[in-house]
């Protein structure tokens, strides 16, 4: 099921997109491509432009410059709307409708048969609640209904805006299982989040927006390499001889018993060999690679004066 109408096989192409709200520039020269079956995390602080980017892709809002194609069609066209699915950040369905009624409305709008509704509700674990009014549901249940409508009609591209917010760990696990299934079926997924720890292991690529600019767009491994963040080594001295240890290896004394060192990834083995050579002086070595939060802060952080 490859699409020949878009170049390079990308099912979603965003090219030098700019969007302003009045004088405020919300998106600046954003370019991004998604291949079929690819899961891309879209990270950024609140107000970095994640939702705005999604709304341009959905055709809900018109960009000031740049171009978007979804499976070869322009945003907002019937073909594009058939190809794309969306999970809004705060899904609010009509309180007076039941889950079954709400989903069957979406099925009718999407041109899908009514027979798909019940299995989808089953898939997201709402089979029992389907007949009750959405007004009586919990936030997590409404989020699941949002996910069910994303699954309608096997979209080519799915945009999930903060899908994990408000979910308990078990539901979150199920969410990523569904995301994995969709990707396996060839759907390209753009998943926004403001916590890298939430999406890291479950995505193929990470794109980071900072004040409307795309500052990173790569795999986690490459980003880690590019950031060049130091590895932290924590040495514990035997018999509280931290002063002696400090004199030997340098670094910083943390307390009476330990010393902390930072080194670049490529110096790591060298350092460890020297520490091992100290023999009995070192009781323990703890090694911590840069955390995802450190990495995210490195790319998304605002420069402090």
């Amino acid at each position: 099921m490859t699409d020949n109408t878009s170049r390079g096989g990308a099912v979603l192409k965003v090219e030098t997109l700019c969007k302003s709200h009045g004088a405020a520039e919300v998106l600046r020269n954003v370019s991004l491509e998604l291949q079929p079956g690819e899961r891309v995390a879209l990270l950024g602080h609140n107000g970095a432009g994640k939702t705005t980017l999604m709304k341009q892709i959905l055709g809900l809002s018109t960009p000031n410059a740049g171009k978007i194609t979804i499976a070869g069609s322009l945003p907002g066209s019937d073909a594009a709307r058939k190809a794309v699915a969306y999970l809004p950040e705060a899904v609010a369905f009509h309180r007076a409708l039941s889950g079954q009624e709400q989903l069957s409305l979406f099925a009718r709008l999407a041109g899908e048969p009514q027979s798909v509704v019940a299995p989808l509700l089953e898939r997201v674990g709402l089979a029992d609640a389907a007949g009750r009014r959405i007004g009586t549901w919990s936030k997590g249940m409404r989020q699941r209904l949002g996910l069910a409508q994303v699954l309608l009609g096997r979209p080519r591209v799915a945009l999930l805006d903060e899908p994990a917010s408000g979910l308990d760990p078990i539901s979150r696990h199920e969410l990523y299982a569904i995301i994995g299934e969709m990707a396996a079926q060839g759907t390209a997924l753009l998943i926004s989040s403001h916590a890298l720890t939430e999406v890291e292991a479950r995505t193929d690529r990470i794109a980071i927006l900072r004040r409307g600019e795309l500052v990173a767009n790569d795999t986690l491994a490459h980003l880690t390499q590019r950031a060049g963040l130091p590895i932290r080594l924590k040495l514990t001295a035997r018999d509280n001889e931290a002063a002696e240890l400090h004199a030997q290896v340098g670094g910083q004394r943390v307390n009476g018993a330990s010393v902390e060192l930072f080194c670049q990834p490529n110096e790591k083995m060298n350092r460890l060999a020297r520490i091992a050579a100290l023999g009995d002086l070192v009781a323990d070595v703890e090694m911590a690679p840069p955390s995802l939060e450190d990495l995210y802060r490195q790319f998304s952080g605002e420069e402090h004066p």
């Binding site: 959905l58 969306y86 009509h94 007076a96 009624e101 009014r133």
Partner: protein, 274 residues
């Protein structure tokens, strides 16, 4: 296209039923129509017309106020409320056009209004027929009242959608709708009245005023019902203005208002970025 409009309409109808809108609107119409019919039973003999005629005349005056009010109350939340809840953004990511969404809502709301009006006027009319008798003319007048009330409601539904699309929030839309009602139903007539008094039977009163009157859907509604039945005209005392205009003007105005207002609403709706 038709299936999508009906999908939206049937959902909206369900919501209107669950929100008790259908029940509320029907009850209001029924109570007011019955009350007016029996309050109007007294002057029958004096005018020499049957009870149904008097009843239709009273209900015409009632409908001028109530039809726009009910329509605006149903319409003001239709777009602004959906934008606030975030439901509109999601719906518009589906292959459904804004025009289809608007028409779907319009059909559902108009159906609700038509149901309430038919029930209210119909019951009151039947009661009048049973207690005071009716003729062919007064029965036609009753049917005309029902039809024109639905048209008037349709015009104000569409105006309500327009206001709902222009407003920044559902609360603002409610306020604007109240203003709209006040202008069309009360202030417009008052300012025309003021102009007539000032003009004192001059060119304005004879040639401009009737046209201005017909331009307002609420007044066009009144004119059409008055011009249609002599008895009703007698009972409402609005014969002068109705006679000054060609017979087609008021019906044309009232029939054109709903589609024109829908076009305006669609225009306002198109500017929204949900």
């Amino acid at each position: 296209m038709i299936t999508r409009i009906f999908a939206v309409a049937s959902t909206e109808l369900r919501i209107a039923r669950r929100n008790l809108w259908v029940l509320t609107a029907s009850l209001i119409m029924l109570l007011f129509a019955l009350a007016l019919t029996f309050a109007g039973a007294a002057p029958t003999g004096a005018l020499g017309v049957d009870l149904l005629t008097v009843s239709v005349a009273s209900m015409t005056t009632l409908s001028v106020y109530l039809a726009p009010l009910l329509a605006l109350m149903m319409a003001f939340d239709a777009i602004a409320g959906d934008v606030e809840r975030g439901g509109l953004a999601l719906m518009l990511t589906y292959p459904v056009s804004r025009g289809e969404v608007l028409l779907g809502k319009f059909l559902a709301h108009l159906g609700t209004l038509a149901f309430a009006m038919t029930l209210g006027f119909g019951t009151a009319g039947a009661a009048a027929v049973l207690t005071g008798g009716a003729g062919v003319e007064s029965l036609i007048a009753l049917a005309r009242l029902m039809g024109t009330s639905v048209l008037l409601g349709g015009a104000f539904l569409a105006l309500g959608y327009m206001v709902s699309a222009l407003a920044k929030s559902a609360t603002a839309a409610a306020g604007l709708s109240a203003g709209l009602w006040l202008v069309f139903v009360v202030l417009y007539d008052l300012s025309l009245l003021g102009a007539i008094v000032f003009d004192d039977g001059g060119f304005f009163t004879r040639s401009v005023f009737p046209w201005l009157l017909a331009l307002n859907p609420a007044d066009a509604f009144r004119l059409w019902n008055v011009a249609g039945a002599e008895g009703v005209a007698l009972a409402t005392g609005m014969t002068g203005a109705a006679d000054a205009l060609p017979a087609w003007v008021a019906p044309a105005s009232l029939i054109l208002w709903p589609p024109l207002a829908l076009v305006l609403a669609r225009g306002a709706f198109g500017r929204i970025e949900p």
